[in-house]
Amino acid sequence: MTQINVTVDGVGYVDQVEPRRLLVHYLRENLGKTGTPVGCDTSNCGACTVLMNGSTVKSCAVLAVQADGAEITTIEGLGNGGLHPLQAAFHGEHALQCGYCTPGMILAAVDLLRDNPDPSDEEIREGLEGNLCRCTGYENIVRAVRRAAAAGAEGARA
């Protein structure tokens, strides 16, 4: 067992974990952060995407011990008590159906808009190609990211 110090959604944790334990299992099973689901075992689907020190990682491809000292943001902490503009945009554009890919998709979009605050549709599609959705055909996800980008631009002007 290895001791890790990790901050998740603003709360600090000290835990003993098996070195092979995946971050996603640590989040889900040790901390009860079940908002982050697992969709595959080859890091293709992106359902388990979280922010680690501000950048996206697929938490099924990170060991919990690698997160020692890190700050993790999951979908449960993203809104900081309210709704993040991307969460609001996904709701407003009907960008989810079953919702299983949604946490990862939203966090990937957060990272995308941070890198590129005003992406074209094509840039959005390319930026999200590491996250798979089986329900929406992506049309409304692209619209939601565009909407959040526009809201962000407006926010920046204000």
Binding site: G32, H91, H94, E126, G130, T136, Y138
Partner: protein, 813 residues
């Protein structure tokens, strides 16, 4: 695109683009996926699975696993042989169908890679992963059976002792001999429907907790009610002692319409150990063991007059059942039997399907289930017929389709299409697509020898859904009815609980059902809560599949609301001191002259029950079960423009227009979303996806790295619109869940062939990968087929659909 309508304006809720009630928890991670569940002392299951496509099991030794830390128990199939029975097939399609015994864990023989042979029960999932690797199984390999075209040959190895044929099912109407004898034009085509892996984003998961003799099962299932009934039937556990809960379920697309080995074993192990157990599959385990879809070889023949009038149609199918018949495996191809004639009139039709066993994962329902296959074949051959006759392909379709004034129309299959307007949908699609402009551009590009050709693909589809009238299901030997149930509970505060027997897993029932009930009862949308997916809360239901929830379950809601209003009218009559016949009800208010009482006031008065008339029960609650009297027949016209690079074979969808007629729309936002998602899956069949087994029967596409589920960058933006012809039911609604998938596959492939037809290309086998497209062009240009095949052999795309003779040889007729 649909503008959101969240206004508080008065008037009907039906038709408004309300944002979904479901979203609040899903966008914030407050979800209840089955794998989230933790219970005190919860044990984890992991399965040892066959690495052979076909083998005798000589010995299973779990002793080494039992010595590992954290291992509580380990079992082989033999340990459950006396109690596991056979997993159910609910659709024995013919009298003499062969339904092999299907044990949840193999006992003597394995028949596909991934079949469970042993299970470990451990204190955590990591210990389970270690322990399963310590199980030692001794196999005696047997020859695999992989090609359904050869499986019926004498001398083929046998999947089961009874042979490789499960059934042959036939349908015919009209004088087919005369149609083909007299028609001046006859075309025959062979099409391949490749094997698909449904790939819901949430992997399967099941938790089962015993409490004395009672069991609660949570499962990522589309069918909690069917699962409860069948688990009780096969295990003998009394149905009243079994509660099944489908919590948040992350997509299904038919793949979670099943009674699985893992669900049954979770129940049996929980019973044996008296402890709660959990099993959650990995994606690679799921690709092996979640039922697959499609996998047919189709031979279709069409006879027509020179003016394009269809005289007759004849279809022979070979359908891959896989190793066993699961819940509706044999019936899936037959859901297409009545759909090959599609929207067209003809004199005669015959259909013949042979279900064949192979040593592969069983097939079963996947979005569209039978109808995508049928629609593909008819829409593909219609384009070829148009080419043969020199008639514009939309014009050919129009000459044959049922005119809008001819509805209701009884087809050659005996189905009565209640409504439709193919002219209107086609006109709208042509307009949105700029059909004539693209045809001009296509001609210009061909004229100047542009290496990137433009193709236009057409799919004027219909389908049958809303499963289904119980009598019809009975006549097709299906094992259950097709009704749906709903309950309304009027709460004392005037709020409403709606209980539905359909079990949503992404479809948005909580929102759409609230809209329907709001209109029927005149209570605010926000005051309605929809409950589903738990057999204790919603004890009666037929669940969600076959685009049935609205077309069947939605109408059950209306009937349940009627009963509430009828009961409330009696009480209103007493409160308003007027005879019931003089009471009117509108917008939630009962009125007699100038006096009135709201339904909420009546709900409170009923709760108090102080002044009810003699003999009136103090309840407004109601139950209703609705059995539809017909299928639902959505239709539409889809047009796809692709740019096909003749030098690389790369296909780019330039524009896609879908105009669908799904009758009256309850929530346009949800309908549009269903169409989008359906399109993505249908396009994926055309261009990307194929479940591939190698020559030894190993699944090659076990992960999402190998099975190409399209991402946002692989798919186009869609233009969607609707036309509307009311269905002949009280809401005027039709199903929508599968329409996009059914329509889009032929639209895409037709566009590729349309682009390449001038080069002599007649067909490209799906998925139309760049290599396959390039190769088809090379062969058409006169490159020797062998050379092209040799070139292909050096590429990575060595899949079954790529076999040089992509035709049916013999069998099936």
């Amino acid at each position: 695109m649909t503008a959101v309508d969240e206004t508080q304006a008065a008037g009907p809720q039906i038709g408004r683009a309300r944002l979904r009630k479901e979203d609040a928890r899903l966008i914030t991670g407050q979800t209840t996926w089955t794998d989230n569940i933790q219970l005190p002392g919860l044990l984890h299951l992991a399965f040892a699975r066959s690495p052979f496509a076909h083998a005798k099991i000589r010995n299973v030794d779990v002793s080494a696993a039992l010595k590992l830390p954290g291992v509580v128990a380990a079992f082989s199939g033999a340990d459950f042989a006396a109690e596991q029975g056979s997993l159910p097939c609910a659709w024995p399609v013919t009298e003499d169908i062969v339904i092999p015994d299907h044990p949840a864990m193999a006992v003597d023989e394995v028949r596909y890679v991934g079949e469970a042979v042993a299970v470990v029960v451990c204190r955590d999932r990591y210990a389970a992963a270690d322990a399963v690797a310590a199980i030692d199984v001794d196999y005696d390999p047997l020859p695999p059976v992989l090609d359904i075209r050869a499986a019926l040959d004498e001398g083929s190895p046998k999947v089961h002792a009874a042979g490789n044929k499960s059934y042959e099912w036939k349908f015919a109407n009209g004088d087919l001999d005369a149609a083909f004898r007299d028609a001046p034009v006859v075309l025959e085509r062979n099409y391949r429907q490749q094997r698909l892996i449904p790939s819901a984003m949430e992997p399967r998961s099941v938790v089962c907790a015993p409490l004395g003799e009672e069991y609660t099962m949570w499962s990522a299932t589309q069918v909690p009610h069917i699962l409860r009934f069948l688990l009780a039937a096969i295990t003998g556990i009394p149905e009243q002692n079994l509660r099944v809960i489908a919590p948040d379920v992350g997509g299904g697309f038919g793949s979670k319409l099943q009674v699985t080995a893992e669900e049954e074993l979770a129940l049996l192990i929980a019973r044996k150990l008296g402890k709660p157990v959990k099993w959650t599959e990995s994606r690679s385990e799921g690709n092996l063991t979640v039922h697959h879809g499609r996998d047919q070889w189709q031979r279709i023949k069409i006879a027509a007059d020179r003016d394009g009038r269809i005289r007759g149609l004849s279809v022979d199918l070979l359908a891959d059942m896989g190793a066993y018949l699961m819940l509706v495996t044999p019936g899936v191809p037959l859901l297409g039997a009545f759909m090959f004639p599609a929207i067209y009139k003809m004199d005669a039709y015959s259909f013949d399907c042979t279900g064949v066993f192979t040593t592969k994962m069983p097939t079963d329902a996947y979005r569209g289930a039978g109808r995508p296959e049928a629609t593909f074949a008819i829409e593909r051959i219609m384009d070829d017929l148009a080419d043969e006759l020199g008639i514009e392909p939309l014009e050919l379709r129009e000459r044959n389709w049922i005119k809008h004034e001819e509805f209701p129309y009884t087809t050659i299959c005996g189905l009565t299409y209640d409504s439709g307007n193919y002219e209107a949908a086609t006109a709208r699609a042509k307009e949105l697509f700029d059909y004539d402009g693209l045809r001009r551009e296509q001609a210009e590009r061909a004229e100047r020898g542009d290496p990137v050709r433009l193709g236009i693909g057409i799919s004027t589809f219909t389908e049958m859904c809303g499963l289904a009238p119980s009598r019809v299901l009975g006549s097709l030997a299906y094992g259950a009815g097709g009704w749906e149930h709903a309950s309304i509970r009027m709460l004392p505060t005037g709020k409403v609980e709606v209980v539905t027997g359909s079990s949503a897993h992404g479809q948005g029932h909580e929102t759409a059902w609230s809209q329907i009930v709001s209109d029927q009862l005149g209570v605010p949308f926000e005051d309605i809560r929809v409950l589903h997916g738990d057999t204790q809360v919603s004890p009666k239901g037929m669940d969600t599949y076959g685009s049935r929830s609205l077309a069947v379950g939605g109408l059950a809601l209306v009937q349940a609301c009627d009963k509430v209003v009828d009961k409330a009218r009696v009480i209103a009559s007493s409160m308003l001191e007027a005879p019931p016949s003089e009471i009117t009800f509108a917008n939630g208010v009962f009125s007699a002259g100038t006096a009135s009482k709201s339904i909420q006031e009546i709900a409170l008065a009923t709760f108090a029950a102080h002044d009810l008339p003699d003999g009136v029960e103090p309840s407004l609650d109601s139950d209703a079960t609705y059995d539809p009297d017909n299928f639902s027949f959505p239709h539409g016209t889809h047009l796809c423009a692709t740019e096909v690079d003749t030098e690389t074979g790369f296909v780019k969808i330039r524009s896609y227009v879908a105009v669908d007629d799904v009758g009256v729309v309850v929530n346009p936002l949800i309908v549009e979303g269903q169409v989008h998602g359906g399109l993505a899956q249908g396009i994926a069949q055309a261009l990307y996806e194929e479940g591939v087994y190698d020559d030894d029967g190993n699944l090659v596409t076990t992960t999402l790295a190998d099975y190409l589920l399209p991402s946002a960058s692989d798919l186009p933006s869609y233009v969607t619109d609707r036309t509307e012809s009311r269905a002949a039911n009280r809401l005027g609604v039709k199903g929508v869940g599968e329409a996009g998938t059914i329509a889009s596959t032929p639209a895409v492939v037709n566009s590729i062939i349309d682009a390449l037809r001038p080069l002599g290309v007649k067909d490209v086998v799906m998925p139309c990968t760049p290599e396959r497209v390039w190769r088809a062009i090379e062969v058409a240009r006169g490159a020797p087929q062998d050379a092209a095949a040799q070139h292909a052999a050096r590429q990575s795309d060595q899949t079954q659909g790529n076999s040089p003779s992509a035709v049916i040889d013999g069998g099936g007729a």
